[in-house]
Symmetry: C2
Amino acid sequence: MASEFDLIARYFTRAAPAGLLGVGDDCALFSVPPGEQVATSTDLLLEGRHFFSDVDPTALGHKALAVNLSDLAAMGARPLGCVLGLALPRVDEPWLAAFAQGFHALADAHGCPLIGGDTTRSAHDLAISVTVFGAVKADQAFLRSAARAGDDIWVSGELGAADLAYRLLDGQYPADPQRLAATRGALERPEPQVALGLALRGIAHAAIDISDGLLQDLGHVLAASSAGATLRYADMPVAAALAGLAEAPLRRAVLGGGDVYQLCFTAPAERREAVLAAARAASARVTRVGEIRAEPGLVVLDAGGRPMAELPRGFDHFPAA
Amino acid sequence: MASEFDLIARYFTRAAPAGLLGVGDDCALFSVPPGEQVATSTDLLLEGRHFFSDVDPTALGHKALAVNLSDLAAMGARPLGCVLGLALPRVDEPWLAAFAQGFHALADAHGCPLIGGDTTRSAHDLAISVTVFGAVKADQAFLRSAARAGDDIWVSGELGAADLAYRLLDGQYPADPQRLAATRGALERPEPQVALGLALRGIAHAAIDISDGLLQDLGHVLAASSAGATLRYADMPVAAALAGLAEAPLRRAVLGGGDVYQLCFTAPAERREAVLAAARAASARVTRVGEIRAEPGLVVLDAGGRPMAELPRGFDHFPAA
């Protein structure tokens, strides 16, 4: 059995890119281009809470970084690097190798090298903390407070697949191997919309990534912007694998389903062509799903234009008693 | 019972200092002075592994940040801010309030505001991840690889108290309330040597913080610098509370005891006066305990000048089988 330091060295130390000091000193060092700020986000992922114990470790390594890159995307920030904390209940080298492979592959794809970390033993559960760093010009970051009345509301990608996969894996729905196969990738290997975030700089106003469900995440934008919104349910980009679901689970997946890691963003109506051009440049799909209003409140209109009465809540780690 | 977002808002959101965007957006934003790099370090602390379940939460909030500030100190970096991930097995508001108070008090003392975070529920254990950011001029950072043959080896503060407190609390030694009272502060409320790190810029060569024990941490410096060292055991700054301990536990505490969060650093022999002046400016105690040698190997001389045969190993989360 290897020592802690051997383990770190074997799976997580790689040559640091020029200008960075990587794993193996008290701190990692990185540079920030003149005139840019550092954007940073941290997530703590726990076995049994954020992922199933038997999840594929390569997918888990991917997702642990993806959820943080998604936060950079939602600020319009360019990735610079990341640090990883890993608490392991046991030393399982094949597991570590697969986790590291998934993590590094996504890091490489986004130019976001692992530059520091901390590995320790846990008593019970696997715990993963990732902190990412990106660079953004101060006046170009998408703030939650920047939505303006009259802005279009856009969503990237598709909605609902991760929620359906989660409920199938959790046994909340009867086994359905075909639907699970069609949705599992959305849950376990989300693709952070970093390129779209960068392409939308100077075009979008507010942005947020859909981690807790569209309604809850958009609600944060509305609260920060002191604004309201109208959404059109019929315009939502619903994942094809949800076809044929009953109305209640469908609505819950589309409007309330978390773990999406697509962007919800607002942009002036006169920039619609620019939004579409940015999405094309980033090879992303974007769909216009509503508008920001000055009056507070979040209204979802059904296909007939009537406000929907029962709306799902988003995911909350500490639900009210 | 409050929602996750209420909890975060109540205990961890504070007005962000000028130039920073704090808790409440996808990312926190901070600026770095021109010509300086970002130094960053992350630690993942787990209940039962890094702290006892019944530890005073104010002390725990202090220590969770202190161990990271200590890494900035060991690079000679000035704190800029930090992010916190917190996984809680239950919502305990008095506990949260006390933890936040200990955390914020140390953050305030070092100008290191909490600018982002993630709070979640854990299945079993409390887990705390902290990532700190500091600023340092690229050519002034103390690297582990920078020790040179002929350098003096210095240690700040005192050695051994945290190890003794840990073993008393863990029941490895018979109860001794007086010794515990004299050593517990060193274990539970270490004071990171940030001011000393800053004062030593341009003077010290290599530095490391003593988290895993003097011999193990100095060993990392020697490996990175391709050098060896001679230490003089009789010169070690032993904590007064260790007086009267038997030789074996004393040696283990002084040379192998972790959780010290003092600095071990090297500096040219001709800069001794500058080192002492820097320590005075930082109100820190520093003690010269040995020299860097070109030949590899780490030798500790006893009071009679003979190499000590049995040396304790440092702390390792994954001890060899």
